[in-house]
């Protein structure tokens, strides 16, 4: 599935949820499904800045694609991380580099990428793209 199609799928799923509170509840549940993040990778140098809570990200190359693992001690951020990785994980570096982050705005999550929001998602996407460079 292309990145655009993945975003569209998630958008349709979120659009069916009536209000922001319920949307965040679903996002928190998505975080519960996140691939476990090894404790030994909770290192300062793997922290993504720009978030009120701690957010770690590590990447590894698997054949032609990049596999990311990430987590946060805040459950909403962790859910947003799961959502981003559902869109961007296990893709080629070219796909990740060329991905237009403006597309994420279509998800309709209020303030998802706003710098002042301090949920760190903007920084996470930046770091994901940086690691694909």
């Amino acid at each position: 599935m292309t990145i655009e199609a993945e975003i569209q799928d998630i958008k349709e799923m979120l659009d069916d949820i009536p209000d922001d509170f319920a949307k965040y509840s679903t996002i928190i549940e998505m975080g519960d499904e996140l691939e476990p993040y090894p404790e030994e990778f909770k290192l300062d140098e793997l922290k993504v800045p720009g978030c009120q809570s701690d957010l770690w990200l590590v990447a590894e190359r698997k054949d032609d694609v990049l596999h990311y693992r990430a987590t946060s001690d805040a459950v909403i951020v962790k859910g947003l991380v799961a959502l981003m990785l559902q869109i961007l994980n296990d893709r080629t570096p070219e796909e990740i580099r060329d991905f237009d982050t403006d597309l994420l705005k279509e998800l309709g999550i209020k303030g998802l990428l706003t710098p002042g929001r301090q949920n760190g998602v903007g920084s996470l996407v930046q770091r994901i793209q940086l690691l694909a460079a």
């Binding site: 209000d19 509170f21 509840s25 009120q52 001690d73 459950v75 909403i76 951020v77």
Partner: protein, 397 residues
């Protein structure tokens, strides 16, 4: 007392919003926003320069705010009132001008509860000039440890300034500023009080300090404007903080002569509309009566603390201490950023994180917190909305 009707932002458009972040920025009544609009729409000119009608009017309105501030804080003279960009600017002026030649023999004494604006300027001075910094801890009940303050002052050998917030933004517990003042002055120390949180809700009296700083945007005025009160003579001979237009009497390439107080600290074009708006805000507060505001916020703070203390998963910082204007708390087993995000979906705006006061919160809590803070427009219904929303949020966290 319900003053919501004075605030356009709290009118029908936003009647679902419960604003509990007034310690960061208070809302601005319509009379202030109207006055700012009037400046831009009717006499939008620079001050102290032109001789045309608009410039004359702008200058008159701007300078007319100085006596309003003087009366509001109980100062003696207009020239003791310096317009700044806010509390942070005011503290930086004192650190960089009054203490410009201080060295390792001299000391600044801070409380553990200070916010970053009353820590970093002194650290910068220390890095440049070797100034000593003494930090006085709080007692377990959240009040200042006066025994430690007494010891610290007695050990001072050179010059000393005691710089403390009267109402710390991370505790909401009033400092016994009269005792701090007496103890400091008995030993010849200079006293700087940060009134950012106290001036909007407690009667100010500058006879207890040498410097007082506060911000317009926390006292129902505009952002980007504030006040430095400097007692007569304290800053008159000091080198100004910034050079530029309006802070000079004459400029030649060989030599510049600085202006008198207070203009020598108001370089360049200042926030004219902001100053004019601040004057209206202070008159508005004066008309309500600072004692009435204090009483209202005391009741709201007591009520909020009682309600929060009644929630099993909520831990209030210094739960037994009397609070004014704000209550800081955490939700057990939940990150403050998650709670604040979910409260926002319920129309409740609170602050989360370290409140620009990392040292006290790192030592006392060890993680980010939530802060509900109040203004003259806050009602018990707002607090009930917060509690209802918190219960709903905690059910999924």
């Amino acid at each position: 007392m319900n003053k919501k009707c004075d605030f356009q932002i709290l009118s029908d458009l936003n009647d679902d919003c419960v604003y509990l972040d007034s310690a960061a920025t208070s809302l601005t009544p319509r009379c202030v926003t109207d006055k700012i609009g009037e400046y831009y729409n009717c006499y939008n000119a620079n001050i102290h320069r032109g001789i045309h009608d608009w410039a004359e009017r702008a200058t008159g309105e701007y300078e007319g705010v100085r006596p309003i501030v003087k009366e509001f804080i109980g100062a003696d003279q207009d020239k003791e009132i310096v317009f700044t960009s806010g509390t942070t600017h005011g503290i930086n002026i004192v650190a960089n001008c009054f203490c410009s030649d201080w060295t390792s023999k001299d000391t600044v004494i801070l409380s553990e509860a200070e916010h970053h604006a009353n820590i970093v300027p002194w650290q910068q001075l220390k890095a440049r000039q070797g100034l000593r910094i003494e930090v006085i801890p709080l007692l377990p009940d959240g009040h200042l440890d006066f025994n430690r303050l007494s010891m610290a002052i007695q050990q001072v050998k050179g010059r000393c300034i005691v710089s403390m917030s009267i109402l710390p933004n991370a505790t909401g517990i009033m400092l016994d500023y009269q005792q701090v003042s007496q103890m400091s002055r008995d030993h010849g120390a200079t006293v700087l009080f940060d009134g950012a949180q106290s001036v909007p809700r407690v009667k100010s009296d500058v006879s207890y300090c040498d410097f007082l700083v506060f911000s317009g945007h926390k006292i129902y005025g505009p952002t980007g404007v504030g006040i430095l009160y400097a007692g007569d003579g304290l800053l008159d001979e000091m080198p100004p903080y910034m050079g530029g237009g309006d802070m000079i009497k004459s400029v030649r390439f060989e030599r510049t002569t600085y202006n008198d107080m207070p203009w020598r600290y108001e370089a360049g074009t200042t926030n004219i509309a902001g100053v004019i708006g601040l004057g209206v805000a202070l008159n508005w507060v004066e008309n309500i009566g600072i004692e009435n505001i204090y009483q209202h916020e005391k009741e709201i703070s007591d009520y909020a603390q009682k309600q929060l203390n009644g929630l099993d998963r909520v831990s209030v910082l210094y739960p037994e201490a009397e609070k004014l204007g704000l209550v800081v708390f955490t939700v057990n087993e939940a990150q403050s950023v998650d709670v604040a995000t979910l409260l926002n979906t319920q129309g409740v705006a609170v602050r989360s994180g370290y409140l620009c006061a990392e040292p006290i919160l790192v030592s006392q809590v060890g993680r980010g917190v939530l802060r509900a803070s109040f203004g003259i427009y806050t009602t018990q219904d707002d607090i009930d909305r917060l509690i209802d929303a918190l219960n709903k949020v905690m059910a999924i966290l």
